[in-house]
């Protein structure tokens, strides 16, 4: 697998991703959806809605930026993984669903390079989503007057891009499963599995050192997760990225 091959694969995958609008529409859905949900929950909590207050748990009543960011992180820890997992399942699974995988054989650009190209574009996209969501939440916060009432708390916004990128990292197994399963649905099923494991463990307050759980737990209770535990999260994309490249190198059209 040559560096030139990976460069070509990244360029080709970026072109497909931009033209398809799957990633653009997923970005809009996620960013706008999380923004609207967070704003709605904040307003409902302010009006004393008991159901919303119960859902927010310890976040209920936290004022200013910390409260807003806390709500955004809670939603993003689940919705972000779902959005990233579905997008990555599409990225890999569509080659099988559309039959285009046959055209990716017998090329000077190797199939592992193509798989890595897909992952590079996916991770670059996740950074763009992180920036967009942080921007939208900042706008919501300033619109609610936090700029004046909680100027010192604005630093809490920095947690958003961290969680968004961590959510993208733990969704990488969806690409491997979509490859092994030869389609989108196995990847989406894997994504749902990751979300269930992460959310159930986080609510039970266990698994700070489990890479799939640490981001969701950090979103709910940042003090429960040491910084070193978050640094373990990249082992997921490293391991499953390598598995992806291997699966594509050994791929056969035998099904």
């Amino acid at each position: 697998m040559s560096a030139a091959g990976i460069r070509v694969a990244v360029a080709v995958e970026a072109r497909k991703a931009i033209a398809s609008r799957v990633m653009a529409s997923t970005t809009v859905l996620l960013v706008v959806g999380v923004g609207v949900l967070a704003l709605g929950m904040l307003l409902a909590a302010a009006s004393g809605d008991e159901q919303v207050l119960a859902k927010l748990g310890p976040l209920a009543g936290v004022p200013g930026w910390a409260g807003l960011v806390g709500i955004v992180l809670q939603i993003t820890a689940a919705a972000g993984v779902l959005a990233f997992g579905v997008a990555l399942s599409w990225t890999f699974g569509r080659e099988f669903a559309d039959g285009t995988v046959a055209a990716l054989f017998a090329l000077p650009v190797s199939r592992p390079a193509i798989a890595l190209g897909k992952l590079v574009v996916y991770l670059a996209w996740s950074v763009a989503v992180a920036v967009a969501l942080t921007g939208v939440v900042a706008i919501v916060g300033f619109a609610m007057g936090f700029g004046a009432t909680d100027a010192a708390g604005v630093g809490a916004l920095a947690r958003i891009p961290v969680l968004v990128v961590l959510s993208a990292l733990i969704a990488v197994p969806a690409g491997w499963v979509a490859t092994i399963g030869r389609g989108l649905l196995p990847g989406i099923a894997a994504t749902v599995g990751i979300i269930v494991v992460a959310q159930v463990s986080a609510i039970a307050d266990v698994g700070a050192w489990v890479p799939f759980v640490a981001p969701a737990l950090w979103a709910i209770a940042p003090d429960a997760v040491p910084a070193a535990a978050l640094l373990v999260v990249p082992t997921v994309p490293l391991a499953f990225g390598a598995l992806c490249a291997f699966a594509w190198s050994r791929l056969q059209l035998d099904r």
Binding site: V12, K16, S20, T100, A102, A103, F105, V109, L253
Partner: protein
Amino acid sequence: MSAAPRFEARGLARTFRGGAGVHGIDLDVAAGEIHALVGLNGAGKTTLMRLLLGMLRPDAGAVRVCGVDVNRADAATWARVGQLVEHPLAYAELTGRANLEVAARLHGLGRAQLAAAVDRAVEEFDLGRYADVRASRLSLGNRQRVGLAGALLHEPDAIVLDEPTNGLDPAGVIVLRESLLRRAAAGAGILVSSHHLDEVARVADRITVVNDGRIIGTLDPGGFDLERAFFALVHGDDERRRAAA
């Protein structure tokens, strides 16, 4: 340009559950030759082509592509290959031209050669009207044209096309025929499968008949009544196998 056989298969076998597959095939595709594979559905033509291109690993036997073991083929070897087996490289979200540009990059063409190669392909396959149309809006036949143009735009020496006339209109069939004849004349070795015996007779230098995963004979491209000769071979083979069972 070296005159090594473009494809060589020796003792090639791959059996799927249920017994289908190919069972010991020897096959050569020489430089400058159009070699046609004909056979009924399920005879093993596509499996054979997939084995030649590394899409399947054989249970036994070996494949050489442009003189190189298919398992050791590097980027330089694959840059000499063009193929369309089953689905064309035509991403629904990309226009005809964008699909050709993607194909050109994947086939190893640099930015400097890309625009000219894509322009030539658009002209050769008469895709001008569809160059700026998304593939999702193209007819099956025009998607096939995009796929064929993308598979051939880097002027490969070794070409494998599985049922390339699928979906093509009569004008597209002629465009493809001329394209293959021109490339063979320039030294490419071409393996093509087809159900259209008349079309095969027009372009092929050799016609090999495949049945039940084995090569059972050849047809003379200049011969009279190819259809009768084809069925005589296939039915004769079926009867021999039944008698032996």
